[in-house]
Amino acid sequence: MAFAPSDEPVALKILVAGGFGVGKTTLVGAISEIRPLRTEEVLSDRGVGVDDVGGVETKTTTTVAMDFGRITIREGLVVYLFGTPGQERFWFMWDELSYGALGAVVIADTRRLTDCFPSIDYFEQRGTPFIVAVNCFDGAERYEPDDVRIALDLDPEVPVLLCDVRRRASAKVVLVTLVEHALKTLTAAQR
């Protein structure tokens, strides 16, 4: 048997949220080793409060691929990126994904800012540290981060930054900003 390391590996979870087609997959791909991950389209009845009906298990079996990437910081320290499924029928996945998450990146597109409202509401309510990364699409008008902050009615401590999710360097800045924000939130909570 392989020699077991004395301490367990540490895994951290970062979520990537935002409206459909806003660049979640692109961001995950720009910065991490993409891995296939399947889940079911509709999860079990768990949590809905449905009683067990004599061993008959209700569950659809359509599997869908999820955005999932992995960044190995060092042996025994891994960061997982999960793209939160955009469509409403995937809301059930959010609680599971955000449980224990270090934080979330909400990607915004200034041409349809309202698309990221549900994500922002969700993380605000759950108290998950998040940042807003404005993806600068070609041909979209540029806005200053502060304009976006006002438009989204964000708390002053929520970082807002412009980015190009296709570029690795930019994706890196986005993740570093998030982890720094999470660290700040953590140390503030400990004081």
Partner: protein, 123 residues
């Protein structure tokens, strides 16, 4: 819009329905197992090797080193729900040890986060 799936190639997914592997069971003791819980094979020999399916043997193989639930699902290319059922069986038979992330690190420490920041910068 994407066209309706056709049963033509790998993209169509396995021809066998996913839960066939679990003999139709969709639930197990691992239902609430966290996505990033760490699974480690304890190295015990199953009492009745016939109880263990090929996918489960692979899981025991993969988890000779602590491996997260998502990585196992990804490695086997099976849906998370299916993997949880397979893991539940192994857990019930005492063949794996599962450590939820909270047990490993309740809240990531300042030291870990700083390490992550530096690691990301160095990518």
């Amino acid at each position: 819009m994407t066209p309706p799936p056709e049963w033509l190639d790998e993209e169509a997914g396995p021809i066998v329905r996913p839960y066939a592997l679990t003999r139709g069971r969709a639930h197990s003791s691992a239902d609430d197992m966290d996505l990033i819980a760490m699974v480690t094979a304890v190295g015990k020999i199953p009492r009745d090797p016939a109880d263990i399916g090929p996918e489960q043997w692979r899981i025991l193989d993969i988890t000779a080193r602590a491996t997260s639930v998502v990585d196992i699902a990804s490695e086997l290319d099976l849906a998370l729900g299916v993997v949880r059922v397979l893991l539940g069986d192994l857990q019930d038979q005492g063949l794996i040890r599962v450590r939820p992330p909270a047990q490993v690190a309740p809240l990531p420490s300042e030291r870990i986060l700083k390490e992550v920041i530096n690691g990301l910068r160095a990518l």
